[in-house]
Structures are given as C-alpha cells and as structure tokens.
C-alpha cells in the first residue's frame, strides 16, 4: 500500500506542472464553493438577522384575527392591555426584550410631495428598539412623551427633501375607518442599511400612535426578542396566550425569507454541480492522459503479476493525492478569498426584494460545517473522477499494453 502511494506520488512528480495545475483546479473549485456558500450564508444570515431585529422579532403575540397585510386597526384585531401581557413575558429568563408595537399605514406629505408609509408606534425606551436608536444619522431618537416628533428613514428623507426640524403632515387611518391628518416635526433621520425598510417606515411614540389612530391601550403586536434564536420553540411553549391571541415564531413571520432561502439553496446546489463538474473533468482528463502515457508501464506491472485491483489502486491513489494537495491549497485560497471579500463587503445597494429585508452590503460568512461539507464534496468528487481512468488502466490487456510506444 505504501509502495503504491510512493509510486503514485512519484508519478505525479514526473509532470509537475500538469499535476500542479490539476491540483489547482481542485483548489479553485473548493475555494469557489467556499466563497459561494459563505456569501449565501452571509446574505441569508444577515437578511434573517435584519428581519428578526427590525421587523419580526423572534416571537410575536397578536390577535388571531389580525391581518398583517391590512394593518387592521379595529379593536377586535388588536391586543388589549399589551403592557400587562408584556410584563408577564418579560419574567422569562430567555427573553431579552418585550415591547408592544402598533402598526398603521398612512401618507406623509410635504408641501407638494407625498409618500405612502408604514407607521410604527414604538415604546422609545424599550431596548428592542436599539437597532433603530443606533441608526440615527441626524437629529435625536424619540422620547416616550414626544407628541409631535417623528423619525424618518434616510432614503425617504432624501426623496422628500426633508431634514431634522422640518414639518410634515401625516394622514392615518383610524380604528373606526376615518382618516386623520396631523402635523409632525422630523425629530431624527435613521438608517438600518436596509433600503426596503428605511424607505417606507416612519416611527412615532406608541402613546402618540395610539392616540392618533384611536386605539388607546391596544397594540398590533407584542414584539419579543430572545437572548438566542435557539430559545424560540421553548419560549413559545412557555407562553400562555390569552384567549383570542396567537403566538407566532420568526419562521411563521418570515415565510417569504425562508422560502427564498430554500430556493437559493437549490440554485446553489446547481452552481455546486457546475463547479464540481469542471473540477472533475480536469482531473479525469489529467488521469486519462497519464494512463495513455504510461500504457507500457501498466503492461510491465501486469506482466510481473500486479492484479487489476492494484493497478486501479495506483491510479486512485493519484487522484487521492491530487485531492489532498488540491484541498490544502483550496482551503488557503478559499479562506483568503472570503477574507478579501469581507474587507469591504460587496455593495448591492437597494437590490432587496420587496417584502424582504436585505442589507445594502453582502458579507461572506464562512461556517465550520459549511467548510467541512464543501471540502468533503470536493474530496469525493475528485476521488470519483479517478475511477474511470483507474478502471481503464486496470482493463488494459498486458499483451496490448506491452506493445505500446510508451
């Protein structure tokens, strides 16, 4: 066995340049797989993280009849006495923050321009709203007793030519179906680096939003952030939702995102196949050339009594060594390319899909299990690509092989 490996190693050394480029093909294949999987992981991971932090939370408690797409404000579609329920949930250890929120839709108008907006009534003191607080680019965050202040996202502010201190008019649907209009002052401009969200969301304090929409002491949802996503199922079991309310997990609340992830994964599988197919064809080509070049040697080995299995083993050992060499180079190349990618990230601007929060900048996120799985994939593909040439070598008739020129 050792002798077979020694021979395989020296055979690869005979044509060093060709062996190097074959191993390089394996390396580039692996590096591409690493980069691709880490970019997707990074993109999906950040999209999900954004969605959880900015929009869905880990868990929400809502009225069973609440229809998110309509932002209903009828009392029967809302949660009554949300602070009371929130206080109970806050006692659970795994909970990081819990806060009521009220959603409404409306129109923001300046002198001659207007834009449809989604209104978030939030408790400015809750740490669940820290991502918004951290994103203030000018002006201040809201305070609990702010009755005239409003926060606007940076893209919308640019579009409507608004600055901190400007007055705007906000028209809102109320719980009884009327439309109320009221003047607000831009208190601050924020960004979450997520175009889709920033362009369409304005914040009011919860108390003001309740007053404006005539939904006093009601909220659209109770928004819950956990200390870790993995606590979700446990906490859902622990929550005793009052009658008429339902508990939803981040998975229920981000179906578009999870479906998109499934779709992305199937596309990625296809790309993996293309990359592996290219790698495999390079290795097959190298080994077939090697079999042709060494036909007479194979004949000699057969003549001195080497069985077909061992001849096959010799060529499989070569593909094994190419795989090992290529994988070592590929891991270095892959780590380096992920590092390069992450120095600046890849700016995609506002290419996010409607309804999905995708960060403006994609970063690659390489996980250990992805690295292991793409490495194993590359290894197996390289070994398999040695099978046909090895089989070809083992089937050569000794008498024919001995007659060969080389």
């Amino acid at each position: 066995m050792i002798q077979i490996f020694k021979m395989a190693f020296r055979d690869l050394g005979r044509n060093r340049r060709r062996s190097f480029f074959s191993a390089l093909a394996v390396a580039v294949g692996l590096a591409l797989l690493m980069l691709l999987s880490s970019v997707i992981q990074g993109e999906m991971g950040s999209a999900l993280e954004s969605a959880i932090q900015l929009q869905s939370g880990h868990i929400q408690i809502r009225a069973a009849s609440y229809d998110e797409s309509k932002s209903s404000l009828k009392w029967e579609d809302l949660v009554e006495n949300p602070d009371q329920i929130a206080a109970q949930i806050a006692t659970l250890d795994q909970v990081k923050a819990v806060t009521p929120r009220l959603f409404a839709s409306g129109f923001l108008s300046t002198g001659d321009e207007s834009s449809g907006v989604r209104i978030y009534g939030i408790d400015p003191q809750s740490i669940a709203n820290d991502p918004y607080r951290a994103g203030i680019v000018s002006g201040d965050f809201l305070t609990a007793d702010d009755r005239e202040g409003l926060l606007i996202g940076q893209p919308a502010a640019l579009k409507l030519h608004l600055q901190v201190g400007d007055k705007v008019s906000l028209s809102v649907n109320t719980s009884n179906g009327d439309v109320l209009e009221q003047a607000f002052t831009i208190r601050g401009v924020y960004t979450t680096n997520t175009y889709g969200f920033d362009n369409s969301t304005v914040f009011l304090s919860l108390a003001k939003a309740q007053a404006l929409t005539q939904t006093e002491n009601h909220a659209s949802t109770i928004f819950i952030l956990l200390k870790d996503t993995s606590f979700t199922d446990g906490v859902i079991k622990a929550i005793q939702a009052p009658a008429g309310l339902e508990v939803k997990s981040w998975k229920d609340l981000n179906t578009l995102l999870t479906e998109f992830e499934t779709l992305a994964n199937s596309y990625i599988g296809f790309f993996y196949l293309i990359i592996l197919a290219i790698t495999v064809s390079v290795i097959i080509n190298t080994l077939i050339m090697s079999v042709y070049e060494r036909t007479r040697e194979i004949g000699i080995l057969a003549a001195i009594g080497m069985r077909s299995g061992r001849i096959m083993g010799l060529f499989l050992s070569e593909s094994f060594l190419l795989a090992i060499g290529g994988i070592l180079m590929g891991l270095v190349l892959g780590l380096f390319s992920v590092y390069l990618f992450n120095i600046k990230g890849f700016y995609i601007g506002n290419m996010g899909l409607n309804g999905m929060l995708i960060s403006n900048t994609i970063r690659a996120q390489l996980t250990l299990d992805k690295t292991i799985s793409v490495t194993i994939m590359t290894f197996v593909a390289t070994i398999l690509s040695g099978l046909y040439p090895a089989w070809m070598a083992s089937r050569l008739e000794p008498v024919e092989a001995l007659r060969a020129e080389k």
């Binding site: 002798q3 021979m7 055979d11 003549a303």
Partner: protein, 230 residues
Amino acid sequence: MEVVKIENVARVYKIGKLETQALRGVNLSITNGEFTALVGPSGSGKTTLLQMIGCLDQPTTGRVFINDKDVTSLNRNQRADMRRATIGFIFQFFALIPTLTAYENVEMPLLLNGYAPKERHDRVMELLKAVDLTDRANNRPDQLSGGQQQRIAVARALAPNPKLILADEPTANLDTENGKQVMDLMAKLNKETGVTFIFATHDPRVIGYAKRVVTLQDGIITKDSQSNGK
C-alpha cells in the same frame, strides 16, 4: 519435470476483416533447467509463443500447461497470480518502472508476492550483487546505461525465485559488449540456480548460448535441436 507444455496451440489475430495466423498448431515441451532459444525470422511467431507461455495472451485453440497446470482458461487475475509466482520476464526494451530506483524495481515482484521487509532487503541485495550493480541501487533507470538497465531487469525477473524466465530479444537493444554481459549473466544464473530460461532471438551470437534451439517459421516449429551452449 515439464515446466512448460504446449499442446497444439494456434493463435489467430483479427484486425478488421483480416485474419493473421501467428501460430498454427504448435506442440512443445520444456523441462526444468533448460536454456532454450526460440529462433526464426521476424513474424515467425516467437514473441506470440513466449506470450502464450507467459500467460500474457491466450491461444485461440489448443492448451498451455505451466507446471502441469492448465492455464488456458484462467481469468485475468488468475493469470496475473500465475505470472507473479512462477514466471519472470525480460523484455527487449528495458522494461523498468521509471519512477522507481534500481533497488525498488527489483523489490517490486517481492512486494507483490508478499515478502517480509527483511527478506525483501536481503533478496534484493543478493540479486544486485549477482548482477554486479550494488553501487547503482539508488539510481533511477534514466541514470543507468542500457546494459545496466537490462541487468536490473534480469535481477527483477529472478527476484521471486520463479520456475521460468522468459526473455524476448533481451539483447536486441544492446551493443555487443553489453549483450554479451547479459547473456553471460543469464547462462551463469541458469547454471547456478537451475531456473529454466526461454528466450526469443534471431541474433546468432545469442543463439550460441542456447542448449536447445527451437526454430519457428510461419507459426509452426520447423526444427528442434540440442546444442552445446556456452
């Protein structure tokens, strides 16, 4: 005791629609310790006959026995096993594995036969000494002259103590001096170890070494004569 017995062997090669009869009903018996030359012009069937005896090829009709065992119907791996344990080969071209050193080339059949490391080492050194190339043990074939390479091939053929050594034009690519060295070596080993040698040749100087000369023409044996050898 008969080492080789050939019974009515014919071999027909088909290339497209063309049929070539390389052997047409050959009968031959070779006993232990013989030093036999197969002679005849090119195309007379010498190499084909050696390939039949060496289990490298199979007859179209007829039977081949090695050590009383019928090898005609053995499968690929069984033939490989037979060659490994019983038959040594010396080819016209210097058939060494280029990536292995002289030492490792001689060692290869011992490895394939499952010899222990110590046994292998002793046997290889003994053979390198016998072919007078101990000092070239670590050289690769491309660092050896043609004559040296052929002597290493002889050592390799002898390594697993085969019953039979087959040599196909062993001196054809050597100059007179190296050819003589190789033939002297083969004759000496035949005398000392009693191993049977069968070699195909049309070189009169090589034929002079043989104790028996079997002449082939157009695929049949036309003459089988004893000789004095050297």
